[in-house]
């Protein structure tokens, strides 16, 4: 009955000689916020690409809602929202037009006015996306990830480039969505973000899992006092502590 929302088993991917994702396994349960943590180039984005079917794994499986995203693209993405790193938009499209266009792709989209309001983007409705600041564009990509009323949302480095206030706005909205039962899969470089939002985290190094569990479990296993210390411990960077 309680099938995991996302299920990754022995996932492996190499580019040439370099193994980017190495025998990675984890489950994300329904309604939980799960973070994949690791350095730049640790394989986080590749793992997301593999789960979403944007890349084909060399070995192992990744299922969303029990389905293979590459094979059941339409069914999967009707229920799954995605924010990719560096989301791009058509030249000369406005914020509102981007919302209308993406909303038109889903059977029962959310009200984009409410979403724009929630992220403080309502006054920018008529602005060109190309004229937005980095943070505003980042928030728009989160809005578009949520526009299909998804059950699961993927957020790849969602708050990179956001200022402190904008980051808190995004956190607040994500917490509200979590209370409504949304499953969230995110990657981040900010440990305090993982601590503030996540039920469970998985730390990877060179594509391999080095720690997994609730924030408290991971911190306890490392002997550190917070997630940042635990992260550095598992990365083998203790000398920085």
């Amino acid at each position: 009955m309680n099938e995991p929302s996302i299920s990754v088993k022995n996932l492996t991917k190499s580019f040439g000689d370099r193994r980017v994702v190495d025998d990675l396994s984890f489950d994300v349960r329904k309604g939980e916020v799960f973070a994949l943590l690791g350095h730049n180039g640790a394989g986080k984005s590749t793992t997301i690409d593999l789960i979403l079917g944007l890349k084909t794994p060399d070995g192992g499986t990744a299922k969303i809602l029990g389905m293979d995203a590459a094979k059941h693209r339409k069914q999967v993405f009707e229920r799954v929202g995605v924010q990719l790193q560096h989301t791009q938009y058509q030249t000369s499209i406005t914020v509102e037009e981007a919302c209308i266009e993406y909303a038109s792709l889903y059977a029962s989209p959310a009200d984009y006015h409410k979403l724009l309001d929630g992220f403080g983007l309502a006054p920018l409705r008529k602005s060109l996306v190309s004229k937005l600041s980095g943070g505003e564009r980042q928030k728009l990509s989160v809005v578009l990830a949520l526009i299909g009323n998804p059950e699961i949302v993927f957020l790849d480095e969602l708050t990179t480039g956001l200022d402190v206030v904008a980051r808190r706005e995004v956190w607040r909205t994500l917490k509200q969505l979590k209370e409504q039962g949304l499953t969230i899969f995110l990657t981040t470089h900010y440990m305090e973000e993982a601590e503030a939002l996540c039920d469970r985290v998985c730390i990877i190094k060179s594509g391999k899992k080095v720690a997994e569990g609730t924030v408290d479990e991971v911190v306890a296993a490392s002997g550190g006092k917070d997630l940042e210390e635990a992260y550095l411990f598992f990365m083998g960077e203790e000398e920085l502590l």
Binding site: K74, Q88, Q90, E97, I100, E101, S104, L105
Partner: protein, 245 residues
């Protein structure tokens, strides 16, 4: 359908914001038409028996098709792919057919608008009257458009990078624009070049349109079959080889 329309409306607005579209699809054919007609409008073009006015109207009514098919369609799709817009679209329930259909209809509307402007100028200002059946002409024009668009869509699917697409579109666009008789009347070409123009896909369409425009309906079968075959083959390749990134 309502959902498709909202997507279409946004895409169409984006098309009209592109200055190239206005310049090449809408303004250029009109300017060339006015020039040719003012210089030689009443003269009979040597081989076809059409006046330059009649010939230029037909030829230039395909320039919008040519620009859309070999410039706007491949450029829009390949740029969206290389910038990662299609990668994001992949992560939504949007099907490739829907995306291609949407961009094709947008380009079709531009091509039709281009021809409409030309027609108003020809009929109102220069007193052009088509001897042949107008509805038959519209049908053949539509067939030519769909057929050329399928080539453009195939190019968009096959070219992986903006660079290769630029090379291929230039190789298609400029020869078709200049040597198929779309801008420079084929009647002034030397024999060899005229034979080449008749072999170009757009040249086939233009010849067919010229016949229909003067009410000459024999010898339609072969070009019509050729255009339909192009549509089926290129359209199938376009959908089968479509890539999101």
């Amino acid at each position: 359908m309502k959902r498709f329309l909202s997507m279409y409306r946004v895409e169409q607005k984006l098309f009209f914001r592109s200055p190239d579209v206005i310049l090449f699809c809408l303004a250029m054919p009109l300017v060339v038409f006015v020039l040719i007609t003012m210089i030689a409008g009443g003269k009979v073009a040597s081989s076809s028996g059409l006046t330059y006015l009649q010939s230029a109207y037909v030829s230039l009514s395909t320039v919008g098709i040519c620009c859309s098919a070999f410039m706007s369609i491949p450029i829009t799709i390949v740029e969206c792919r290389s910038q990662g817009v299609l990668r994001r679209m992949y992560c939504s329930p949007c099907s490739p057919a829907r995306l291609l259909a949407c961009d094709t209809i947008c380009s079709g509307v531009i091509a039709a608008l281009s021809t409409l402007i030309l027609t108003v100028a020809a009929v109102v200002v220069f007193g052009y009257r088509m001897p042949g059946n107008v509805f038959a002409y519209m049908a053949v024009w539509l067939l030519t458009m769909i057929s050329m668009f399928s080539i453009g869509l195939m190019v968009a699917s096959l070219c992986r990078t903006t660079k290769s697409m630029n090379v291929v579109t230039s190789l298609l666009y400029f020869p078709m624009l200049l040597f198929s008789g779309a801008t420079i009347p084929a009647e002034v070409f030397p024999g060899g070049l005229r034979a080449v123009s008749k072999l170009m896909p757009l040249g086939v369409g233009i010849d067919l349109l010229k016949s229909v425009s003067v009410g000459c309906y024999d010898k339609l079968t072969l070009p019509v079959i050729t255009l339909i075959a192009i549509t089926v083959i290129c359209g199938t390749v376009a959908v089968k080889t479509f890539r999101w990134e």
